[in-house]
């Protein structure tokens, strides 16, 4: 005889350790099964789009650091690429290589965080997370060499990057590139064939390719469903067309695939950085762009592959020194649209894991 229980609505967040920031989920449970989910966000809203309207094009670079605060370099890249397409500013060769190196390093750091926190939410409390953070720390130290800050980098400018890498940056990068595959193997040895992880993540929260495309999901979450879509391959920008890399895809679209695609992407990023280091040549890093940029064209939209998905900036200009309107297509926000469909029917412990595997950052969701 089935036992009927009364549905209970509980509040997950906004100050919950596993919601990746100040994010709130209003979940209705039947026993332990999720029957309804409503994400509530806006707790970290800072009005970045409005703030951008009263700052000039160079000053907005500092605002983009604070969107996805674990991947500031790729935010910078997405923004400056939009400004460059709006104004037609050229970027010198070395500047492009430095951009690719720094944003691929940032992708590794971001995916390490995603992996570490996924394990944290699986119950492997803090030890694997600290392993991921240790490797991320070395990337942040390299960012400090490049631009003096670890998280809020503000490294890129319309027309290139702020300044050239110091001489002691390159040995450190080589050291990182040689030792990182070993650490990654070790991390994978902990996770990928671990029975507990497999039992908890295989066939959990399956997202079909059709649903993912309909909801305009991008990034590793889309690639885990088996769709080979990567803006670095599809619309090569910077120097990505000169680099040889694969786009890793998953097969089922479950939580394990989402994790495994990220791990494989780290390996591809390492490959890309190695090729960049081999190809880079001395030269200027920043072209002469005015500080007060007055664009000729009216609007521009450029999407860039950030660690979370397609990060796009849409800027409308009225010819003045600051944008008339700036819209941010935040991948974390759009990837959340499938959250309800993914979570319904699963248990409370699985809810946390599925939510963690989407890898959202609330700074980007709320903007």
């Amino acid at each position: 005889m089935p036992i009927n229980t009364q549905p209970v609505t509980i509040n997950l967040g906004p100050q919950h350790p596993s919601t990746h920031g100040v994010f709130r989920l209003r979940v209705t449970f039947d026993g332990e099964q999720v029957i309804d989910v409503e994400p509530v966000f806006g707790y970290l809203h800072r009005g970045t789009e409005k703030l951008a309207e009263e700052r000039n094009y160079v000053q907005i670079v500092t605002l983009t650091d604070r969107l996805d605060y674990v991947a500031a370099m790729t935010n910078n890249l997405a923004y400056v690429r939009t400004v460059e397409s709006l104004t037609g500013i050229e970027v010198p060769e070395r500047g492009m290589y430095l951009r690719v190196i720094s944003s691929e390093l940032q992708r590794i750091a971001s995916h390490l965080i995603a992996t570490g926190f996924l394990l944290d939410e699986l119950g492997a409390f803090h030890t694997p997370l600290i392993y991921c953070f240790r490797e991320r720390e070395r990337i942040l130290e390299m960012f400090e060499m490049l631009c003096g800050a670890r998280i809020t980098v503000s490294y890129m400018r319309p027309g290139g990057v702020l300044q050239d890498a110091p001489t002691d940056f390159w040995p450190r990068l080589d050291d990182f590139l040689t030792s990182m595959p070993g650490y990654l193997d070790e991390l994978e040895g902990l996770i990928t064939e671990n029975e507990v992880v497999l039992a908890r993540t295989r066939d959990l929260g399956i997202l079909s390719a059709q649903d993912a495309i309909n909801a305009s999901i991008t990034g590793p979450v889309l690639r885990a469903t088996g769709v080979q879509w990567d803006l670095r391959k599809a619309e090569p920008h910077e120097v990505y067309d000169r680099l040889d890399f694969d786009v890793p895809i998953g097969s089922v679209g479950d939580t394990f695939d989402r994790y495994y695609v990220r791990i494989q992407e780290i390996r591809q990023s390492l490959r890309m950085i190695q090729q960049c280091v081999a190809q880079i040549e001395p030269g200027p890093v920043r072209s002469k762009a005015p500080y007060f940029i007055r664009p000729d064209s009216v609007d521009a939209y450029v999407g860039t592959e950030s660690p979370k998905g397609e990060l796009g900036f849409y800027i409308v200009s009225d010819g003045g020194i600051s944008p008339y309107r700036m819209h941010i297509r935040a991948p974390s926000f759009i990837n959340l649209t499938v959250l309800r469909e993914l979570l319904i029917g699963w248990k409370l412990a699985d809810l946390i894991v599925i939510f963690g595997s989407l890898d959202i950052v609330v700074g980007e969701v709320d903007r």
Binding site: D65, E144, G148, T152, S154, P166, E195
Partner: protein, 222 residues
């Protein structure tokens, strides 16, 4: 076999527990040291240390001696306290204009100095509210005379918000250990602010100070 995965995982944990190259914890701000550790940290050989500072040596044997420790910082680190050179500043207020947050307040008045090189303004007020600063460094990037530099420290905690406003008096009297961020002239001298050496105002600029002949030549051309 069940349980093998757990053993494999714990092997990795054990490796990280034992290997010294994998240990990454930094005992910020102070680390307890023994006698050998003290002589290593201070760079003084052990016999000399025993003679020079016997009290600390005994303390270190009892486990009561501490040395400062923090993560190594790169010279480019954008630090909190700004290094500002009054002699280089003309009061043009470029930094105030370029600041995305508008937290630099500059009030100037005419001074009558350096009439031939163009008017130099007298700075009545130069306030930086680092309580709201995000250390993006755009002010430093904007400074045409290399008067303003990023600092190198990060321990500027105060008990009151108004103490975080750096005014002119504080800027003048502060330690001048500028960061080499966006200052290639300091980076090319291999300057490291974390060694604590001060930089004088005439050593911080991109340009050498012109000699009297050069200045006269320039004036004659006008």
């Amino acid at each position: 076999m069940y349980g093998l995965g757990l053993v494999k995982g714990l092997m990795v944990t054990a490796k990280n527990l034992v290997l010294p190259s994998r240990m990454m914890t930094v005992q910020y701000p102070n680390r307890k040291v023994g006698l050998l550790g003290l002589s290593k940290a201070t760079g003084v050989p052990l016999p000399k240390l025993l003679l020079k500072d016997p009290i600390t040596s005994v303390k270190s044997l009892l486990g009561m001696a501490e040395v400062k420790e923090s993560l190594p910082q790169h010279p480019r680190f954008r630090g909190e306290e700004f290094s500002w050179y009054e002699q280089r500043c003309t009061g043009c207020a470029s930094c105030a204009k370029y600041c995305p947050l508008g937290i630099i307040e500059i009030v100037t008045s005419e001074s009558g100095d350096q009439m031939q090189e163009g008017q130099k303004y007298h700075l009545d007020k130069f306030d930086i509210d680092i309580g709201r600063c995000m250390f993006c460094g755009l002010c430093v990037e904007a400074c045409p005379y290399d008067a303003l530099h990023m600092g190198s420290g990060f321990e500027e905690g105060t008990y009151r918000r108004q103490d975080l406003v750096i005014d002119k008096r504080k800027l003048v009297s502060a330690k001048k250990t500028p960061s080499t961020w966006f200052r290639p002239q300091l980076a090319s001298k291999k300057y490291d602010p974390h060694k604590g050496k001060n930089v004088k105002w005439d050593g911080a600029g991109r340009h050498e100070k012109p000699s009297l002949e050069q200045q006269q030549e320039k004036w004659a051309k006008r």
